[in-house]
């Protein structure tokens, strides 16, 4: 289980927090077009890399906070445990090599 660096409590198990979502600023509800408003409601950037997120420290300080997490490595900016993570998982991790024709090899 991932440790999430709560600015008030210190590093806590991710199950102690609620993941609120990507941090986007709220448009003005009086002037936003439906498209702008629904982009805010439903669209996520979902980058493979640094992402600004909102967390809620549900079991701890009960505070909302934002943090930047690298979604490829789960490393938070200013990660409390330097060196404790290694690079992102190689996409070839699960299927190690290309299939080749066995016929051709025999």
């Amino acid at each position: 289980m991932m440790l999430v660096p709560c600015p008030n409590c210190g590093p806590r198990n991710s199950s102690d927090l609620r993941y609120v979502g990507e941090s986007h600023s709220r448009p003005n509800p009086n002037t936003a077009t439906p498209e702008e408003w629904r982009t805010y409601l439903y669209m996520e950037d979902n980058p493979a890399g640094p992402l600004k997120e909102t967390w809620y420290c549900r079991s701890g300080c009960r505070q909302y906070f934002t943090a930047v997490r690298n979604t490829s490595t789960n490393e938070f900016e200013n990660h409390p445990l330097p060196g404790a993570k290694i690079g992102s998982v190689d996409p070839s991790f699960h299927y190690v090599s290309e299939s080749k024709s066995v016929e051709g090899n025999q």
Partner: protein, 949 residues
């Protein structure tokens, strides 16, 4: 096999004989025996039948990973006989055999084995799909595994968390040295050993090995800051060194899951000996060198009479010594390092009889020992993102990259003499401790409640260990013949060749198609051979083919251990003991246990309508709101206006999410200057609190509002019915006359002698009612006083069901019952409460779009069936007459005791929502009935005269 005279190395206690049965025959073993060693010592060679072909099988590894050592012990299926310690009175039997181990009818599968090739089941039992249930029944007869006894009483399992500095996975020489090294540096260490003894491979080694193991084990056991967990396994390593440890050696729990946050993890599981693939390699009597050494040296069991030994390493050579010492006639030692090879093991069904060598010789023997190399069990490293790489010179996989909080020691790291392994292990432990100390200081410095220290500077201490060397080892996987690769799954090298030819030629595909590596050994014995055979089939190297990814758990855990002690919090009101004493029928609503009724909900409804009733509504969510900016918060959360609610007033409001969906509703009372009490639905209390905090913390940090959840600070009692005023007035100092305490007003005062009660008039049931919020420590007292004082008025308790009936009679919707995750506020018919002229409120944007044109939104309407005696089930569909086109659904339905007819609420398309519209409702039987849309939501007293009196 027979028991040898006492050996200096044995772990059995000959002074403590244990009696048990093996397939109903009485057998005697000794304390310290595994089930397998005791059975072997009794002369048994056949332990099991193979999964598909039902070929007889004997011990292969004689340890935890033995694919042939699964037995039933009493009601406990799939027990690993090579690992589980013998106990007195055990009832042990073979699995997957019928009618008996020695004579197995299904062995006929072996005769027709050529039809049972890889993918046989996929191909044969695919069509027609209508026969799948039949196939399943037939195939289930052939499924391997023991018998589950559903009548077995549940056993106690347990869970605990731990925060050690260093977790050492593996209690062999390297692991023990690491634990001691780390402990000497001051670290708190958890040393986890899979087997029953510390020592690893030293236990079945030479006298010097065992002496060294004993010394190290004593030091570990004696060290104050080392917690030794025997018969326990680090089954997985997850993010930030979150380690799952299955402890099978707890004195109270059958199995206990330890969730350990290790500051550093030392991975030292040792190496697992790999079988060799050749014809007949699964015959009883073909055994790995480690198995022979364990049987002889630890359990004093003589594994056979005449042995051939195929050896490619020192461990194989040592097996020769052990066999000779045990009196086994070693008739041939075939040295693979100089080109020796074994081609086949021949023999009858029950044992090897003859061994065919690469040079053409055929040698009579009942035992064939192989020592052809190792599998590196890198699971924990894989889980940390490592991708081990194959080294053809050492003929095994090695770690390529791991995070700084993981260190590798022992056979996974390299080879060496015992001294070299210990020096490397000690250095690993010391480094692990120093890095753990760095991590610990970082965690501590970031944690305000901890003792204050400065954050450590810089990165973790560098790795200055002298690496272990790697010994040369010949690559030995398959001989010139075909044999079994996966013993548990009965997959042979021929199957793998065939699968590769069919196109399943990537390692992950061939695994899934043939099920090789997917059995209970989970690749510990067969992964490398699978990869090697595939490489051969593809004409490539092992490095090119790569390997499958090890996944958790490292070793199987029971479901009981994963469940641990189950935490399922329940919540009860302070009146619950009274409800239980009255035998109220309980209902679980969210986490709350509440009375559904006290016997007759219809009578409870009638009593409220005619006299007066009490309901415990304590789960009602309550938030104490204080501060000058509370009205701003209320305006932000609710869709309606709050600035002008006077002190003493109560107002109803609806909350929507930002997508305009109805989220919660309730009333909020203005108690005093800058002081309000908000109520929410019972299930919404936590959500609304977090929602309010979200607005205050992220959008409006300048607003001065304190939100405090006080749901259970008050016991909430609703006194409802025409005689409620008469009843409450007997117990309170609050003036209840209608002129001074009107509908939708709040007062504070004393009730039944309890100060600081809050009381308001609202009308969920439709009757005159007083909802009294009593400080919870006195809740039961007030409840009992109300019942006692109202006896002459006919006061009776009523439950949740009666309340639901009455609110339906009144047409009040329930969030989550009559609304769902798509219900925008215009649907519920309260557009008058949406105040778009407010500057802002949650959901305003979506609601403004919705109000501009709400014709596409369904409408919540009251519905009555044409036949008053028919109550359609909730969620019954409403369709266009004569078609299956869905127009809506019934959301609530009950028989009304007041109106003596069926009443409903439902959501229908706006075209069908006009009062008087005839609807077609599809009953769960398929029958269609007609119903009518009513003019008002309220079926009863639509003008609300009763509640305003």
């Amino acid at each position: 096999m027979i028991r040898l005279p006492q050996q200096s190395s044995e772990v059995i206690d000959r002074g403590a004989p244990l009696r048990f049965t093996w397939n109903d025959k009485p057998v005697t073993g000794f304390a310290g025996d595994t089930i397998a060693s005791a059975i072997a010592a009794s002369g048994t060679r056949i332990f099991a039948r193979s999964m598909k072909y039902h070929r007889p099988r004997g011990l292969l590894t004689a340890d935890f990973w033995d694919p042939n050592g699964f037995v039933q012990v009493g009601d406990d299926p799939n027990v690993r006989a090579g690992h589980r310690l013998l106990e007195n009175g055990m009832d042990v039997s073979a699995q997957n055999v019928w009618p008996s181990l020695d004579y197995d009818i299904k062995a006929a599968n072996g005769v027709v084995g050529r039809f049972l090739t890889a993918g046989f089941y996929y191909k044969t039992f695919m069509k027609p799909a209508s026969l799948w249930p039949t196939y399943e029944k037939v195939l289930a007869q052939f499924a391997p595994g023991g018998k589950v006894d559903l009548s077995s009483p549940p056993r106690y399992h347990d869970k605990r968390y731990a925060h050690p500095d260093v977790v050492v996975a593996g209690g062999g020489p390297a692991g023990m040295a690491a634990a001691l090294g780390a402990a000497l540096e001051g670290a708190r260490v958890m040393l986890v050993e899979h087997n029953h003894h510390l020592g690893g491979h030293l236990l079945w080694g030479t006298d010097e090995d065992r002496a060294a193991a004993a010394t190290l084990a004593e030091q570990c056991e004696a060290a104050e800051n080392i917690e030794v967990l025997l018969n326990s396994t680090v089954t997985g390593r997850y993010e930030d060194n979150w380690c799952a440890i299955a402890q099978r050696s707890h004195d109270k729990a059958v199995e206990r899951l330890i969730k350990a946050r290790a500051k550093t993890l030392v991975v030292a599981p040792g190496l697992i000996e790999r079988p060799y693939v050749f014809a007949g390699n699964d015959k009883p009597g073909v055994m790995l060198a480690g198995a022979a050494r364990r049987l002889i040296n630890m359990y004093s069991v003589k594994p056979g009479e005449r042995a051939v030994v195929l050896t490619a390493n020192a461990e194989g050579d040592q097996a020769v010594d052990a066999l000779e010492r045990a009196g086994v006639d070693v008739v041939a030692v075939v040295d693979a390092r100089t080109g020796g090879n074994v081609i086949a093991a021949h023999g009858g069904a029950k044992s090897v009889e003859e061994v065919e060598l690469g040079d053409g010789r055929k040698i009579e023997a009942d035992l064939l020992i192989t020592a052809v190399g190792w599998t590196a069990p890198t699971s924990l490293l894989n889980l940390a993102g490592d991708r081990p790489e194959y080294d053809p010179v050492a003929a095994r996989f090695f770690s390529s990259k791991v995070p700084d909080n993981i260190l590798v020691a022992g056979g996974l790291a390299g080879d060496g003499s015992l001294d070299e392994l210990l020096i490397h292990g000690t250095a690993t432990g010391e480094l692990a401790a120093r890095r753990a100390s760095h991590v610990a200081a970082t965690l501590q410095s970031l944690t305000p409640r901890a003792e204050s220290i400065a954050a450590p500077a810089g990165d973790m201490p560098a790795d200055n260990r002298n690496p272990l060397a790697r010994d040369n080892h010949p690559e030995l996987h398959r001989s010139t013949t075909h044999g079994i690769v996966d013993y548990s799954e009965d997959v042979g090298s021929k199957d793998l060749f065939a699968a590769a030819k069919e196109g399943y030629d990537s390692v992950e595909l061939i695994k899934r198609f043939t099920t090789a590596t997917m059995g209970p050994a989970q690749g510990k014995l067969e992964t490398v051979n699978t990869v090697a055979v595939l490489a051969e089939a593809r004409g490539e190297t092992i490095s090119e083919v790569g390997t499958t990814v090890w996944r958790p758990p490292y070793a199987p855990v029971t479901l009981g251990a994963l469940g641990g002690r189950i935490f399922e919090p329940v919540r009860v009101s302070s009146i619950q003991p009274w409800h239980e004493a009255q035998r109220a029928k309980p209902i679980l609503a969210g986490q709350w246990i509440r009375p559904e009724h006290y016997g007759n909900p219809a009578a409870e409804v009638r009593n409220v309508r005619e006299n007066v009733g009490l309901i415990d509504v304590s789960p009602l969510g309550k938030l104490d709101l204080r501060g000058p900016d509370v009205p701003k918060l209320l305006e932000q959360l609710y869709t309606n206006k709050w600035q002008k609610l006077p002190v003493g007033g109560v107002r109803y409001g609806v909350m929507c999410a930002e997508d305009g969906i109805v989220m919660d509703d309730g009333v909020t009372a203005h108690l005093g200057d800058d002081h309000y009490l908000m109520t929410t639905t019972s299930s919404g209390a936590a959500r609304v609190w977090e929602w309010a905090e979200n607005w205050l913390q992220t959008e409006h940090p300048d607003w001065k509002v304190h939100v405090t959840p006080v749901t259970t600070a008050f016991t909430s009692i609703n006194v409802a019915g025409p005689k409620s005023r008469q009843l409450v007035s007997r117990l309170t100092d609050v003036d209840l006359t209608p002129d001074s305490f009107g509908y939708m007003q709040v007062r504070q005062g004393t009730v039944a002698g309890v100060d600081d009660c809050i009381m308001w008039r609202i009308g969920f049931t439709g009757e005159l009612s007083y909802e009294i919020h009593v400080p919870s420590g006195h809740g039961l007292h007030v409840w009992e006083q109300l019942l006692a004082e109202g006896d002459d008025l006919g006061v009776k308790p009523f439950g949740l069901e009666a309340q639901r009936i009455m609110r339906l009679e009144k047409g009040h919707f329930i969030v989550g019952q009559d609304t769902d995750g798509l219900t925008k506020m215009p649907t519920v018919g309260l557009n008058g409460l949406i105040k778009l002229d407010k500057d802002d409120f949650a959901g305003k944007a979506e609601l403004s779009y919705a109000l501009a044109d709400d014709s596409g939104l369904p409408k919540l309407v009251a519905i009555q069936t044409a036949d008053p005696s028919i109550v359609p089930e909730e969620a019954s569909q409403i369709v266009r007459a004569g078609t299956n086109e869905i127009l809506g659904r019934i959301t609530s339905s009950r028989m009304s005791p007041t109106l003596k007819r069926s009443i409903c609420l439902g959501q229908v398309a706006s075209e069908a929502a006009a009062p008087g519209t005839t609807l077609t409702v599809v009953m769960t039987t398929g029958e269609r009935i007609t119903a009518k849309v009513m003019e008002h939501h309220a079926h009863f007293d639509p003008e609300g005269e009763r509640l305003r009196v």
